[in-house]
Protein backbone atom coordinates (compact mmCIF):
# COMPACT_ATOMS: atom_id res chain seq x y z
CA UNK A 1 0.00 0.00 0.00
CA UNK A 2 2.77 2.38 1.00
CA UNK A 3 4.58 1.53 -2.22
CA UNK A 4 1.62 2.49 -4.34
CA UNK A 5 1.42 5.88 -2.69
CA UNK A 6 5.11 6.40 -3.03
CA UNK A 7 4.89 5.52 -6.70
CA UNK A 8 1.97 7.84 -7.25
CA UNK A 9 3.70 10.65 -5.40
CA UNK A 10 6.83 10.24 -7.48
CA UNK A 11 4.85 10.26 -10.70
CA UNK A 12 2.92 13.39 -9.80
CA UNK A 13 5.99 15.12 -8.47
CA UNK A 14 7.97 14.08 -11.53
CA UNK A 15 5.27 15.43 -13.80
CA UNK A 16 5.37 18.85 -12.19
CA UNK A 17 9.12 18.94 -12.22
CA UNK A 18 9.14 18.15 -15.92
CA UNK A 19 6.62 20.84 -16.66
CA UNK A 20 8.76 23.30 -14.78
CA UNK A 21 11.90 22.38 -16.65
CA UNK A 22 10.43 22.55 -20.13
CA UNK A 23 11.01 25.95 -21.68
CA UNK A 24 8.32 27.15 -24.05
CA UNK A 25 9.07 27.86 -27.70
CA UNK A 26 8.84 31.60 -27.21
CA UNK A 27 11.40 31.72 -24.40
CA UNK A 28 13.75 29.49 -26.35
CA UNK A 29 13.50 31.85 -29.31
CA UNK A 30 14.11 34.93 -27.17
CA UNK A 31 17.11 33.40 -25.43
CA UNK A 32 18.68 32.05 -28.62
CA UNK A 33 18.15 35.39 -30.33
CA UNK A 34 19.74 37.32 -27.47
CA UNK A 35 22.90 35.24 -27.68
CA UNK A 36 23.15 35.33 -31.46
CA UNK A 37 22.50 39.08 -31.61
CA UNK A 38 25.20 39.79 -29.06
CA UNK A 39 27.61 37.88 -31.25
CA UNK A 40 26.36 39.70 -34.38
CA UNK A 41 26.64 43.09 -32.75
CA UNK A 42 30.06 42.62 -31.20
CA UNK A 43 31.63 40.26 -33.69
CA UNK A 44 32.87 38.18 -30.77
CA UNK A 45 32.85 34.59 -31.94
CA UNK A 46 32.23 31.72 -29.52
CA UNK A 47 35.93 30.85 -29.85
CA UNK A 48 36.98 34.33 -28.80
CA UNK A 49 34.54 34.26 -25.90
CA UNK A 50 35.99 30.93 -24.82
CA UNK A 51 39.49 32.37 -25.04
CA UNK A 52 38.44 35.37 -22.97
CA UNK A 53 36.90 33.03 -20.43
CA UNK A 54 40.12 31.03 -20.20
CA UNK A 55 42.26 34.12 -19.69
CA UNK A 56 39.90 35.51 -17.08
CA UNK A 57 40.05 32.25 -15.15
CA UNK A 58 43.82 32.33 -15.28
CA UNK A 59 43.96 35.90 -14.03
CA UNK A 60 41.34 35.55 -11.33
CA UNK A 61 42.60 32.28 -9.92
CA UNK A 62 45.64 34.21 -8.78
CA UNK A 63 43.42 35.86 -6.17
CA UNK A 64 40.55 33.46 -5.52
CA UNK A 65 39.87 29.78 -5.56
CA UNK A 66 36.77 29.25 -7.69
CA UNK A 67 34.57 26.71 -9.33
CA UNK A 68 36.01 27.04 -12.81
CA UNK A 69 33.36 24.92 -14.50
CA UNK A 70 30.52 27.00 -13.12
CA UNK A 71 31.99 30.32 -14.23
CA UNK A 72 29.58 32.10 -16.52
CA UNK A 73 30.42 34.78 -19.04
CA UNK A 74 27.51 36.34 -20.87
CA UNK A 75 26.39 39.45 -22.65
CA UNK A 76 23.26 41.05 -21.35
CA UNK A 77 21.21 43.86 -22.70
CA UNK A 78 19.54 46.48 -20.60
CA UNK A 79 17.69 48.97 -22.74
CA UNK A 80 20.25 50.44 -25.08
CA UNK A 81 23.23 49.39 -23.02
CA UNK A 82 25.11 46.18 -23.43
CA UNK A 83 26.96 44.66 -20.49
CA UNK A 84 29.42 41.83 -20.10
CA UNK A 85 28.25 39.78 -17.13
CA UNK A 86 30.72 37.58 -15.32
CA UNK A 87 29.47 35.27 -12.62
CA UNK A 88 32.13 33.51 -10.57
CA UNK A 89 31.31 31.01 -7.84
CA UNK A 90 34.08 31.79 -5.34
CA UNK A 91 35.10 28.90 -3.11
CA UNK A 92 37.52 30.91 -0.99
CA UNK A 93 39.72 33.97 -1.27
CA UNK A 94 43.45 33.39 -1.24
CA UNK A 95 45.73 34.99 1.35
CA UNK A 96 48.66 37.23 0.55
CA UNK A 97 51.28 34.49 0.67
CA UNK A 98 49.39 32.39 -1.81
CA UNK A 99 48.94 35.33 -4.16
CA UNK A 100 52.63 36.07 -3.99
CA UNK A 101 53.40 32.44 -4.65
CA UNK A 102 51.03 32.39 -7.60
CA UNK A 103 52.70 35.48 -8.99
CA UNK A 104 56.09 33.87 -8.76
CA UNK A 105 54.77 30.74 -10.42
CA UNK A 106 53.33 32.72 -13.27
CA UNK A 107 56.60 34.62 -13.71
CA UNK A 108 58.49 31.35 -13.79
CA UNK A 109 56.06 29.82 -16.23
CA UNK A 110 56.27 32.86 -18.49
CA UNK A 111 60.03 32.86 -18.59
CA UNK A 112 59.99 29.13 -19.32
CA UNK A 113 57.50 29.72 -22.12
CA UNK A 114 59.67 32.42 -23.56
CA UNK A 115 62.64 30.13 -23.65
CA UNK A 116 60.64 27.43 -25.35
CA UNK A 117 59.45 29.81 -28.01
CA UNK A 118 62.95 31.00 -28.69
CA UNK A 119 64.08 27.42 -29.05
CA UNK A 120 61.26 26.44 -31.38
CA UNK A 121 61.13 29.68 -33.29
CA UNK A 122 62.86 28.30 -36.31
CA UNK A 123 60.56 25.30 -36.68
CA UNK A 124 58.05 25.32 -39.52
CA UNK A 125 54.93 24.54 -37.50
CA UNK A 126 55.46 27.56 -35.34
CA UNK A 127 55.91 29.81 -38.32
CA UNK A 128 52.65 28.54 -39.78
CA UNK A 129 50.80 29.16 -36.56
CA UNK A 130 52.09 32.69 -36.44
CA UNK A 131 51.01 33.47 -39.96
CA UNK A 132 47.59 31.94 -39.28
CA UNK A 133 47.00 34.07 -36.25
CA UNK A 134 48.06 37.14 -38.20
CA UNK A 135 45.53 36.35 -40.89
CA UNK A 136 42.80 36.04 -38.32
CA UNK A 137 43.71 39.41 -36.90
CA UNK A 138 43.63 41.00 -40.35
CA UNK A 139 40.28 39.49 -41.17
CA UNK A 140 38.82 40.80 -37.96
CA UNK A 141 39.51 44.42 -38.69
CA UNK A 142 37.21 45.20 -41.62
CA UNK A 143 34.43 43.26 -39.94
CA UNK A 144 34.60 45.46 -36.91
CA UNK A 145 33.99 48.57 -38.98
CA UNK A 146 30.78 47.12 -40.34
CA UNK A 147 29.44 45.90 -37.05
CA UNK A 148 27.02 47.86 -34.99
CA UNK A 149 29.00 47.74 -31.78
CA UNK A 150 28.18 51.26 -30.79
CA UNK A 151 25.23 51.54 -28.44
CA UNK A 152 22.06 52.46 -30.18
CA UNK A 153 21.28 56.12 -30.08
CA UNK A 154 17.76 57.35 -29.92
CA UNK A 155 17.41 57.80 -33.66
CA UNK A 156 14.14 56.01 -33.56
CA UNK A 157 12.54 58.86 -31.66
Amino acid sequence: MKDIFQDLFNKVFGFFRQAEKEENAKDTAVNRLRVVLMQDRTNLTPELLEKMRGELIELLSKYVEMDKDALELNFEQEGNQMALMLSIPVLRAKDEDEIEEAENNIDDAESEDDEEIIEEDSTETDAEENSLSEEVAENDEPKEEESNTKPKENKSK
Partner: protein, 271 residues
Protein backbone atom coordinates in the same frame (compact mmCIF):
# COMPACT_ATOMS: atom_id res chain seq x y z
CA UNK B 1 6.56 71.42 -51.16
CA UNK B 2 9.20 69.09 -49.83
CA UNK B 3 7.95 65.56 -49.43
CA UNK B 4 9.16 63.00 -46.93
CA UNK B 5 11.21 60.16 -48.36
CA UNK B 6 10.64 56.91 -46.43
CA UNK B 7 12.42 53.68 -47.29
CA UNK B 8 10.69 50.42 -46.40
CA UNK B 9 13.24 47.73 -45.72
CA UNK B 10 13.72 44.46 -43.82
CA UNK B 11 16.89 42.57 -44.66
CA UNK B 12 15.07 39.27 -44.88
CA UNK B 13 12.85 38.54 -47.84
CA UNK B 14 9.22 37.51 -47.58
CA UNK B 15 8.34 39.41 -44.41
CA UNK B 16 5.96 41.75 -46.22
CA UNK B 17 7.97 44.79 -47.37
CA UNK B 18 6.12 45.20 -50.63
CA UNK B 19 2.70 44.51 -49.08
CA UNK B 20 3.51 47.11 -46.43
CA UNK B 21 4.57 49.57 -49.09
CA UNK B 22 1.42 49.09 -51.16
CA UNK B 23 -0.86 49.42 -48.14
CA UNK B 24 0.79 52.38 -46.44
CA UNK B 25 1.00 54.17 -49.79
CA UNK B 26 -2.66 53.53 -50.54
CA UNK B 27 -3.71 54.54 -47.01
CA UNK B 28 -1.75 57.79 -47.20
CA UNK B 29 -3.32 58.57 -50.57
CA UNK B 30 -6.78 57.82 -49.19
CA UNK B 31 -6.02 60.33 -46.44
CA UNK B 32 -5.57 62.94 -49.17
CA UNK B 33 -1.78 62.94 -49.39
CA UNK B 34 0.06 62.93 -52.69
CA UNK B 35 2.07 59.73 -52.71
CA UNK B 36 4.59 58.16 -55.08
CA UNK B 37 6.03 54.69 -54.58
CA UNK B 38 9.36 53.68 -56.07
CA UNK B 39 10.05 50.01 -56.63
CA UNK B 40 13.84 49.61 -56.45
CA UNK B 41 13.82 45.83 -56.64
CA UNK B 42 15.29 45.73 -60.13
CA UNK B 43 14.80 42.37 -61.82
CA UNK B 44 12.29 41.21 -59.19
CA UNK B 45 9.57 43.81 -59.34
CA UNK B 46 6.30 43.08 -57.58
CA UNK B 47 4.84 46.33 -56.31
CA UNK B 48 2.99 46.77 -59.63
CA UNK B 49 1.22 43.43 -59.08
CA UNK B 50 0.09 44.29 -55.57
CA UNK B 51 -1.41 47.52 -56.85
CA UNK B 52 -2.92 45.90 -59.93
CA UNK B 53 -0.93 48.20 -62.22
CA UNK B 54 1.17 45.60 -64.05
CA UNK B 55 -0.52 46.19 -67.41
CA UNK B 56 -0.14 49.95 -67.33
CA UNK B 57 3.62 50.23 -67.07
CA UNK B 58 5.23 51.81 -70.09
CA UNK B 59 8.47 53.22 -68.69
CA UNK B 60 10.52 52.10 -65.69
CA UNK B 61 13.06 53.71 -63.38
CA UNK B 62 15.85 52.46 -65.66
CA UNK B 63 14.27 54.29 -68.61
CA UNK B 64 14.33 57.44 -66.50
CA UNK B 65 18.01 57.21 -65.54
CA UNK B 66 18.98 56.28 -69.09
CA UNK B 67 17.05 59.33 -70.38
CA UNK B 68 14.61 57.43 -72.56
CA UNK B 69 11.74 59.34 -70.92
CA UNK B 70 11.04 62.15 -68.50
CA UNK B 71 10.46 61.28 -64.85
CA UNK B 72 6.82 62.38 -65.02
CA UNK B 73 6.15 60.13 -68.01
CA UNK B 74 7.27 57.09 -66.05
CA UNK B 75 4.86 57.66 -63.16
CA UNK B 76 1.84 55.34 -63.38
CA UNK B 77 -1.33 56.64 -61.75
CA UNK B 78 -3.38 54.31 -59.57
CA UNK B 79 -6.76 53.12 -60.89
CA UNK B 80 -8.77 54.25 -57.87
CA UNK B 81 -6.80 57.03 -56.38
CA UNK B 82 -5.37 59.87 -58.46
CA UNK B 83 -3.18 60.88 -55.49
CA UNK B 84 -1.19 57.67 -55.84
CA UNK B 85 1.60 57.01 -58.35
CA UNK B 86 4.09 54.22 -59.00
CA UNK B 87 7.55 54.40 -60.44
CA UNK B 88 8.12 50.79 -61.44
CA UNK B 89 11.34 48.81 -61.39
CA UNK B 90 12.73 47.31 -64.58
CA UNK B 91 12.17 43.60 -64.74
CA UNK B 92 14.88 42.81 -67.27
CA UNK B 93 17.82 44.54 -65.59
CA UNK B 94 19.81 43.97 -62.40
CA UNK B 95 20.67 46.09 -59.35
CA UNK B 96 23.61 47.78 -61.05
CA UNK B 97 21.40 49.55 -63.63
CA UNK B 98 20.72 52.41 -61.20
CA UNK B 99 23.26 54.08 -58.90
CA UNK B 100 22.85 55.60 -55.44
CA UNK B 101 23.39 59.08 -56.89
CA UNK B 102 20.70 58.58 -59.54
CA UNK B 103 18.16 57.40 -57.00
CA UNK B 104 18.97 60.34 -54.77
CA UNK B 105 18.33 62.72 -57.68
CA UNK B 106 15.02 61.04 -58.51
CA UNK B 107 13.88 61.35 -54.89
CA UNK B 108 14.86 65.02 -54.78
CA UNK B 109 12.94 65.67 -57.99
CA UNK B 110 9.83 63.88 -56.68
CA UNK B 111 9.95 65.72 -53.33
CA UNK B 112 8.85 68.85 -55.15
CA UNK B 113 5.51 67.39 -56.23
CA UNK B 114 4.64 64.76 -53.62
CA UNK B 115 3.99 64.66 -49.87
CA UNK B 116 5.38 61.16 -49.51
CA UNK B 117 7.91 59.16 -51.49
CA UNK B 118 7.90 55.51 -50.38
CA UNK B 119 10.90 53.51 -51.52
CA UNK B 120 10.42 49.74 -51.70
CA UNK B 121 13.78 48.20 -50.87
CA UNK B 122 14.94 44.79 -52.15
CA UNK B 123 15.85 42.06 -49.64
CA UNK B 124 19.48 41.77 -48.61
CA UNK B 125 22.13 44.24 -47.48
CA UNK B 126 24.01 44.63 -50.76
CA UNK B 127 23.95 47.35 -53.39
CA UNK B 128 20.19 47.18 -53.83
CA UNK B 129 19.75 48.15 -50.18
CA UNK B 130 22.36 50.90 -50.44
CA UNK B 131 20.59 52.32 -53.51
CA UNK B 132 17.15 52.28 -51.91
CA UNK B 133 18.38 53.99 -48.75
CA UNK B 134 20.40 56.64 -50.62
CA UNK B 135 17.62 59.19 -51.09
CA UNK B 136 15.67 58.53 -47.90
CA UNK B 137 15.71 60.37 -44.59
CA UNK B 138 13.34 58.04 -42.76
CA UNK B 139 13.01 54.27 -42.65
CA UNK B 140 10.44 51.67 -41.70
CA UNK B 141 11.98 48.33 -40.77
CA UNK B 142 9.53 45.48 -41.41
CA UNK B 143 9.96 42.31 -39.42
CA UNK B 144 7.92 39.36 -38.17
CA UNK B 145 8.08 37.68 -34.75
CA UNK B 146 10.41 35.00 -36.11
CA UNK B 147 14.04 34.57 -35.16
CA UNK B 148 15.55 34.92 -38.60
CA UNK B 149 13.50 38.01 -39.44
CA UNK B 150 14.37 39.69 -36.13
CA UNK B 151 18.04 38.91 -36.55
CA UNK B 152 18.07 40.41 -40.04
CA UNK B 153 16.14 43.44 -38.81
CA UNK B 154 18.82 43.97 -36.16
CA UNK B 155 21.46 43.94 -38.86
CA UNK B 156 19.49 46.44 -40.95
CA UNK B 157 19.03 48.72 -37.93
CA UNK B 158 22.79 48.62 -37.39
CA UNK B 159 23.36 49.69 -41.00
CA UNK B 160 20.70 52.43 -40.78
CA UNK B 161 22.31 53.76 -37.58
CA UNK B 162 25.53 54.19 -39.50
CA UNK B 163 23.84 56.27 -42.23
CA UNK B 164 23.86 59.97 -41.52
CA UNK B 165 21.05 60.72 -43.97
CA UNK B 166 18.61 58.48 -42.09
CA UNK B 167 17.24 60.70 -39.35
CA UNK B 168 14.77 58.24 -37.87
CA UNK B 169 13.61 54.67 -38.22
CA UNK B 170 10.59 52.80 -36.90
CA UNK B 171 9.72 49.16 -36.52
CA UNK B 172 6.69 47.54 -38.14
CA UNK B 173 5.85 44.10 -36.80
CA UNK B 174 4.08 42.09 -39.45
CA UNK B 175 2.24 38.76 -39.48
CA UNK B 176 1.56 38.75 -35.76
CA UNK B 177 -0.47 35.76 -34.57
CA UNK B 178 -2.14 36.54 -31.24
CA UNK B 179 -3.16 32.92 -30.66
CA UNK B 180 0.42 31.67 -30.93
CA UNK B 181 1.63 34.47 -28.68
CA UNK B 182 -1.03 33.61 -26.13
CA UNK B 183 0.11 29.99 -26.01
CA UNK B 184 3.76 31.09 -25.67
CA UNK B 185 4.67 29.57 -29.02
CA UNK B 186 5.60 32.87 -30.67
CA UNK B 187 7.58 35.87 -29.52
CA UNK B 188 5.35 38.69 -28.37
CA UNK B 189 5.38 42.25 -29.67
CA UNK B 190 7.07 43.32 -26.43
CA UNK B 191 9.79 40.67 -26.83
CA UNK B 192 10.69 41.87 -30.33
CA UNK B 193 10.59 45.56 -29.38
CA UNK B 194 12.81 44.92 -26.37
CA UNK B 195 15.31 42.84 -28.31
CA UNK B 196 15.62 45.39 -31.11
CA UNK B 197 15.13 48.42 -28.82
CA UNK B 198 13.41 50.41 -31.55
CA UNK B 199 10.22 52.45 -31.64
CA UNK B 200 7.15 50.70 -32.98
CA UNK B 201 5.00 52.22 -35.70
CA UNK B 202 2.65 49.32 -36.35
CA UNK B 203 1.49 45.84 -35.44
CA UNK B 204 -0.13 43.98 -38.33
CA UNK B 205 -1.97 40.73 -37.62
CA UNK B 206 -1.57 37.74 -39.89
CA UNK B 207 -4.57 37.92 -42.20
CA UNK B 208 -5.61 35.54 -44.97
CA UNK B 209 -7.25 38.55 -46.60
CA UNK B 210 -3.76 39.66 -47.66
CA UNK B 211 -3.60 36.69 -50.04
CA UNK B 212 -6.91 37.49 -51.72
CA UNK B 213 -6.15 41.19 -51.88
CA UNK B 214 -2.79 40.45 -53.52
CA UNK B 215 -4.51 38.13 -55.98
CA UNK B 216 -6.93 40.89 -56.90
CA UNK B 217 -4.27 43.59 -57.05
CA UNK B 218 -6.23 45.63 -54.54
CA UNK B 219 -4.45 46.58 -51.27
CA UNK B 220 -6.23 45.41 -48.13
CA UNK B 221 -6.57 48.96 -46.72
CA UNK B 222 -9.38 49.39 -49.25
CA UNK B 223 -11.33 46.73 -47.34
CA UNK B 224 -13.00 48.52 -44.42
CA UNK B 225 -13.76 45.28 -42.56
CA UNK B 226 -10.26 43.83 -42.52
CA UNK B 227 -8.25 43.94 -39.29
CA UNK B 228 -4.94 44.01 -41.18
CA UNK B 229 -6.34 46.81 -43.33
CA UNK B 230 -7.27 48.76 -40.21
CA UNK B 231 -3.82 48.18 -38.76
CA UNK B 232 -2.15 49.48 -41.95
CA UNK B 233 -4.45 52.49 -41.96
CA UNK B 234 -3.37 53.25 -38.42
CA UNK B 235 0.28 53.07 -39.49
CA UNK B 236 -0.42 55.68 -42.17
CA UNK B 237 -2.13 57.93 -39.62
CA UNK B 238 0.85 57.61 -37.27
CA UNK B 239 3.18 58.56 -40.14
CA UNK B 240 1.11 61.70 -40.71
CA UNK B 241 1.56 62.50 -37.03
CA UNK B 242 -1.69 61.39 -35.43
CA UNK B 243 -1.55 59.66 -32.07
CA UNK B 244 -3.36 56.39 -32.74
CA UNK B 245 -3.42 53.60 -30.13
CA UNK B 246 -2.37 50.12 -31.23
CA UNK B 247 -5.20 47.74 -32.13
CA UNK B 248 -6.17 45.13 -29.61
CA UNK B 249 -5.46 42.00 -31.65
CA UNK B 250 -6.83 39.65 -29.03
CA UNK B 251 -10.33 40.77 -29.86
CA UNK B 252 -12.97 38.18 -29.19
CA UNK B 253 -14.56 37.38 -32.52
CA UNK B 254 -17.40 35.25 -31.17
CA UNK B 255 -20.97 36.12 -32.13
CA UNK B 256 -21.87 37.47 -28.69
CA UNK B 257 -18.81 39.71 -28.63
CA UNK B 258 -19.71 41.06 -32.06
CA UNK B 259 -23.25 41.85 -30.96
CA UNK B 260 -21.91 43.55 -27.84
CA UNK B 261 -19.53 45.62 -29.90
CA UNK B 262 -22.33 46.56 -32.29
CA UNK B 263 -24.44 47.92 -29.46
CA UNK B 264 -21.58 49.66 -27.68
CA UNK B 265 -20.81 51.28 -31.04
CA UNK B 266 -24.38 52.61 -31.27
CA UNK B 267 -24.21 54.03 -27.78
CA UNK B 268 -20.88 55.58 -28.53
CA UNK B 269 -22.26 57.35 -31.61
CA UNK B 270 -25.22 58.81 -29.75
CA UNK B 271 -23.01 60.60 -27.27
Amino acid sequence: MSGRVIVITSGKGGVGKTTTNANIGTALARAGKKVVMIDTDLGLRNLDLLLGLENRIVYTIVDVVESRCKLKQALVKDKKNPNLCLLAAAQTRDKTAVTEEQLKNICEELQKDFDFILVDCPAGIEQGFQNAVAGASEAIVVTTPEMSAVRDADRIIGLLEAKEEIKSYKLLLNRVRPNLIKSNDMMSVEDVVEILSADLIGIIPEDTGIITSTNKGDPIVNDENSLAGKAYNNVARRIIGEDVPFLNLEEDNGVIAKVKRFFSGLIGKEK
